[in-house]
Amino acid sequence: MSLTFRARIPEREVEAEFELGQGRTLGITGPNGAGKSTILGVLAGLLIPASGRGTVGGRVLFDLDDAGRGTWVPPHRRGVTLMAQRPLLFPHLTVLENVAFAPRSRGLGRSAARDKAMQWLEDLSATRFADRRPEALSGGQAQRVALARALAAEPEVLLLDEPLAPVDAGGKTELRELLVRVLAGRTAVVVSHDPQDVGELAQEVLELGGR
């Protein structure tokens, strides 16, 4: 799915525009507060911009004129999944249930969704946490699970906000290799401060100016 984006969020002094071809990955970099998370929030449908337009494969996600009127598709109908900057694992669900959440929401049966979730946890070397609650995970462990949960949604467009920040050195290399495989052929936007992440994962780069 090709992606186009143009939006203005004046309360946060954020303004950005880009296009991305089908199956490619955009890396967004820029100093703290440049608006990286804001852009992902607008794409995912969690933030309503003052004005702008976004499309996926020609389908409109939002299209708001300067008065803020127009189309705005709610998050669950966008086919866009966000892995936010904080893990935000659902605290009342186990790790496995967290990862199975998206497959279940897509209509998969309980055990099929569990199997799928288990596979993703395996890919992220996190199966041994499957039955824990999120509160009993370390920072890096929680991040891995959040990544698994987003990947398990298998969306048209995947948005990752600093996916590897709290991951240990060895894990970074391992997960980067995994992401290269997973993102191949999938449209994605990855935010990172790490030039290595951007270099290995993204085919295009948007460098935001900072303040």
């Binding site: 669950h76 999944t81 009342h92 920072g139």
Partner: protein, 237 residues
Amino acid sequence: MLLRVDLSSFWGLITSESSLAALWLSLRTAATSTVLCVLLGTPLALVLARSSFPGQRFLRSLILLPLVLPPVVGGIALLHVYGRAGLLGQHLEVMGLSIAFTTTAVVIAQTFVSLPFLVVGLEGALRSAGTQYEGLAATLGAGPGTVLRRITLPLVLPGLASGAVLAFARSLGEFGATLTFAGSLQGVTRTLPLEIYLQRETDPDAAVALSLVLVAVAIAVVGLSAPRARAAARGVR
């Protein structure tokens, strides 16, 4: 209080036909009212906590009204609505449905006075839970119904449960509105508080004994359903 009742007559009293009928009626109606409060109160709390619209403050005040109304006045208000000649009651009457002075009326009275407890507790829980998890769940493809069922409600379950306990307790103790709106008919509308009230007219000690039964039931329900104590402050990640 205990001193005033000697034990043998105590047992005879609380197992008398009228006492048992009243206790059983109280438990049944309070349980039904609690279910109704949950069914009605959950959408109301969601509307109050998750949307903003003109007249929201007024709606909240309206829902909280039964809290401040002396129950007797609440009972009069219910008569004006559901009574035979009431706003709604006269239409129901035409359809052959008469509510006043039936067990249904008891349930309506209890639900009326208990609803605010559930709504207030749940609204607070919803507000403090925030909307972050809900938004994230939506980006994972979950529609509003799924988000409600699998994220919102489970997250506020402790708030919902404590609201339901309060509603049950309040229903169990309801007196004034029931007496006014539903009357006091053994086995039909005479709940335990009404039985206690009547006993007090003629036998104050018996009234105290029955109160103890009510207290015991209440302690059992409230105590058992209390939130499990968490271990003391531990863990920062």
